[in-house]
Amino acid sequence: MPDHDPPLRLAVVGHTNTGKTSLLRTLTRNPRFGHVDDSPGTTRHVEGARLLVDGLPAVELYDTPGMEDGIALLDYLDQLAAPGMRVDGPERIRRFLDSPESRRRFEQEARVLHKLLECDAGLYVVDVRDPVLGKHKDELAILASCGHPLLPVLNFTHSPDQRLASWREALGRLGLHAIVEFDTIAPALDGEAQLYDKLALLLDKHAAALVALKNDVALQRERRHADALRLIAELLVDAAAFRASSLPEHDALETAALALRRAIRNREAACVAALLKRYNFRSQDFPAHTLPLEGERWGMDLFHPQALKDVGIHVGKGMAAGAMAGATLDAFTAGLSLGAATLLGAAAGGLWQGADKLGKRILGRLKGYQELSVDDAVLRLLALRQLGLARALEERGHAAQKPIELDVQAESPASPERENWRSGKLPDELLEARSRPEWSTLAEDYRAGPRRSEVVLSLARKLGTFRTGDITR
């Protein structure tokens, strides 16, 4: 690519244990980058990552070791400067890099300064829970003498014991007025946009690339959101359409209900895995779902009445408990009334397969088989839980270490859309899916027509209105 500009190079610098590697993880959306621990000197080498736009590197980020010995280093730099000679900052740093101590006591600092000299700018990561101390000012003075712009990135701003104001004041006194707040654990939705905007102000030569990167980040987020909604819509259609047939005896019905529950649980787990993958999180970020086939919980088992109550879904009398929990006996009426058009079409076209399938069901009905399908309340719970998960993933930084906790509890602030999922009428798309058992990928005779994808897309659009006013860009 000869006409392609070289990527912007940024060194992520800062005091030790302030979350430099975390910042890289969040910006690269890669939870496997580097090594993160609450201890000093976790990163002891420079590690790079490229942010890609359309497959081409737009920005190169370098994770550096923490500055740990700024005061002593500044002393040493003063020693190196021969009296009576005026040398500028970068030259002083170069002399330091040639000196023996740069390979001993200040080996880590030397790596940082070496990288910063090569880069276009530095992101100075601050843990705002730390007090502003002389060592921070000294290390900032050293970093500034590399002659490249520094953008302070304030991390852990959501922490209750933050010292945001004193940091802002101190940085301002040092002449650093362009500051960005970016909590690597739970970044604001527009956090990255703010970061790139501020960088573009400092580096007007690279402003175009940064704007492109910012737009790409927004585009990717929208894409992820749309994909997530589609995954959830697929899950709901699969669950709504699924039917298990059984002889109308008590034992057989119980076995069938058990099989139905297992199938739906596995399907939900698959959806969770797909969402985690789509948002590039590891499965251990959401350990709750590696759960049980029988009983206990995924946080709370899908078919446990308490799980429904927890998210505020009204459980009516129709909702059976015990062995038949979450399953509804289907009287076949819906299947037949909507099947009539298919029957007509099948007969008209001589389409034996369609007729055959419908025939089998009618025959089964005549033989006395009964069909089980998933209860409405379970569909509601599936929708609410998966939407809650998608939202949590959207707001989660890739540096976060704690497992995800869902916020779909009944007492959480209710939006009208969420209320609609709790108690309103189920969307027409799901009602239609109910009458199309062949639409469920869980079914043995799965057969999808174009209508299924239309229904899935339209359901995904409806799910999209669940979340309102979250993205304000």
Partner: protein
Amino acid sequence: MEVRRARSEGRDFEQRVLIRARYLAQREKLDQLIQQWLQGSRLALTALCLVAVLAGAGAALGALGDGSRPVNLLLALVALLGLNSLSFLFWLLSFAVGTPSGGTWLGESWLWLTRKLARGPDAALLPRALMELLNRGKALRWLLGGVSHALWSIALGSLLLTMLGILSARRYSFNWETTLLSPDAFVAITTTLGWLPAQLGFAMPSAAIIRASDGLQQLPESAQALWSSWLIACVVVYGLLPRLACLIFSLGVTKARLGAISLDPGLPGYAELRDRLSPVSENAGIDAPQAPAFQAHIRQGQYAYPPSDQPLLVGIELPPDRPWPPPGLPVTVADLGVVESRSQRRKLLDDLQARPAQRMLMACDAQQTPDRGVVALLADLAGMAADSHVALLGLAAPDTVHGTRAAIWQDKLLAAGFSTEQIHTDLAPALDWLAGVPAGDDAARNAHAGS
């Protein structure tokens, strides 16, 4: 593996998905299956074409007979075109009803036959995937319709040729028979059916000839020729031409729809791949392997001056919001203040150089991270006192984070040469030690605190 190759070869996400799919298909030998299936489908189509040819010829022979008996015109027409028209009608109806594959059982039977021909493991995967893809692209109905129309066209073509052949080679006489209808009705039917062919230039029998063809009168040879032309025209105009027109139309639509099929990157299976195939970032490697970290050690110095007896207390990099000096400080203890800046550090070191201490307590904030700089400072200071302890402050409310940080402080201090007795996790016992109170002597401490 396939992902890496796809990433290096494809430009955008859709392309990479396709390239990956191709490599996976090669690995799983799906491409061979596709070949097999294509072969099977060709074979099935050939077989169906042959059947169509035979059926067409058979229909013609059956409808016209061997010439020994006069041919009943209307019955012959129904025999030639009846089934064709019925299935054609169903095909048109299927648009109104909207069945998925468009009500073409000839097309369906082609698929069925192919499935029977191309057997093997995973053989069911391919047609299923094909159906799904065509269905998604809304091309299935038109493809199957095209196959059906093609087969009917072949059958009708063969029927027509057979008719031409036997009409040329044999003598047939045509008539109409009726018990219920009047001759006028027959004239009306025949002329109505003949109107469209007449527009296209086919010679049609006149009303007089129609009336005369009741099988009771002798007809001239030209009239028989006219009737055969009527029959052929009806087959061409009402059978072959509509089928050919629909065939061309179906093929056209199929081609357009197939051309328009593109990857839907939002489909669940593909959406999951996006981060692997089109990652938003990639790793760029490290500069050099990490070196062992520098470790400061306590070096007990030789004092130029005798150490003073007064115990010293110094705060190291304590946050400004922590009260200093600590309340209850014994009067005997000299407070050296909080040291955090470079000049303060230098002054403290110079002072201690000039007046080493017998006993010194260094108070640190355990909520901060112990970095190399502060550990080195503690080690330097410890080297300037005969006996020095470290107190870790801020552990009063132990939660998880501060718990681990206390452990890190311990580790770092031990590595620098402090012993566990020299490290206090609370200020009060540390001050006791500093004031020379034996551990556990509460009364003495209270006395100090009170004074």
